[in-house]
Subunit: 221 residues, 2 copies
DNA sequence: ATATTGAAAATTGGATACAATCTTAGATAT
DNA sequence: ATATCTAAGATTGTATCCAATTTTCAATAT
């Protein structure tokens, strides 16, 4: 009696993965990151509800969620606005990333197995492949694969939030081939330090990886 | 025509400061921090709504907010639970505080005026006064007064969140007089470093202040 | 022309009602 | 006695409706 008699019924309201709020957050996040919804644009609950075919209630919760993630700003009784971008904000995100990810790799290395490192290496292989599409997601997956074994949920959630915040900026510039090559080399050497379980070297590598990226990209804003 | 004809009407629904959600978050946060609502306890939306005299809708948003702040854990369609406490969680919070607050003081010092430092010193005077009540809030105010001039909103919000998370643990132990004296001395020397605009010394001071507190308190959990 | 005011429209905040899901207690079988 | 199943109850998720606030825009005054 494991499978109920619902087959056709499942087709219509599909891919609403247990809670439409999560789906809304993902969709809106993507539109904000790609600039489909411009910085400063207002988000009207009823419009979004109509567009996504739900009521205002899930939209409200999704907007609240996006607010906590820093994607939109909300004042009481006023319409939510997509958060503005600025050079200072970009630098702030990367400065925070440096500290948080240094702590993440430091906490993770004692728990890293070779399987973890190989998984990260496999992701790096894909990053160096031809497909430049979805670089942001792959890059985040590479880093998170190495951080996740730390088991520190607060820290991991925070790092993930910073990655998402950074995406808004990173996706705006098409990184030149020399920058990409540098980043790839740094990923490879980070993998080496992890294999050697050299905590200090790995942490320094992560710090430099991030602060160099900050300095290289900051000029674009 | 500035004042409508509502006088008695204003007395009943008073002190709901523009949005009852904020008030709910504060009240629930306080009850969780003080342990009035124990770790692991379930939060039933309708019960809370009845208790605070509102509908479930503001309660839902408050719970969602508390979730983001790490005070409660929520699974879809299940009742929210007050987050459990653990030694690992405590250490995690303090490790994150060390990195975040080091960055905060470093970013703030170039913008610090003597007025800022004097305001912090005034708060420290109160901390060293007789009244041990409200230490958590005063301590946070002292630190935030020094960090706020950095103007980095993301970072300040994050630091404040970590302070609130730490409160659940700190408020459980009654710090001995020697620990208090040590913390006060560290606050005073931090003020000195700020007056001298010695960024490196101030950052090192903050780091030690936090990591020492971590090591001193961790044993209690 | 520009600024100010006021009222209508738009929009958000909150309450109530219903649907979907989870939880619990009791019945049944082993 | 213990475990399993089932159905009723409890609880959360979503929709719809009303109230409170903000926004807009035209009318008026300067």
């Amino acid at each position: 009696m494991k499978a109920p008699i619902r087959e056709l019924a499942d087709l219509a309201p599909l891919n609403l993965p247990r809670g439409r709020v999560a789906a809304l957050v993902q969709d809106l996040r993507a539109e904000i990151v790609t600039g489909t919804i411009a910085p400063g644009a207002t988000l009207v609950q009823e419009d979004l509800a109509a567009r996504f075919g739900v009521s205002r209630m899930p939209v409200r919760e999704a907007i609240k969620h996006l607010q906590m993630l820093g994607f939109v700003t909300v004042e009481d009784n006023k319409r939510a606005r997509v958060a503005e971008l600025s050079r200072d904000d970009f630098v702030e995100i990367y400065d925070m990333r440096e500290g948080a990810e240094a702590l993440a790799i430091r906490s993770a290395i004692p728990h890293l197995t070779n399987a973890h490192i190989e998984a990260a290496a496999a992701i790096q292989d894909r990053i160096e492949g031809v497909d430049p599409k979805g670089f942001g997601a792959l890059n985040m997956a590479f880093h998170m694969t190495l951080y996740r074994p730390s088991g520190r949920m607060r820290l991991l959630t925070h790092v993930e939030m910073l990655f998402n915040a950074a995406d808004r900026y990173v996706s705006m510039v098409s990184a030149g081939p020399e920058l990409k090559a540098k980043a790839n080399a740094e990923h490879r050497s980070l993998l080496e330090h992890c294999l050697a379980r050299d905590t200090a070297a790995a942490e320094a590598c992560v710090r430099k990886h991030i602060s160099d990226a900050r300095d290289a990209l900051a000029q674009f804003f």
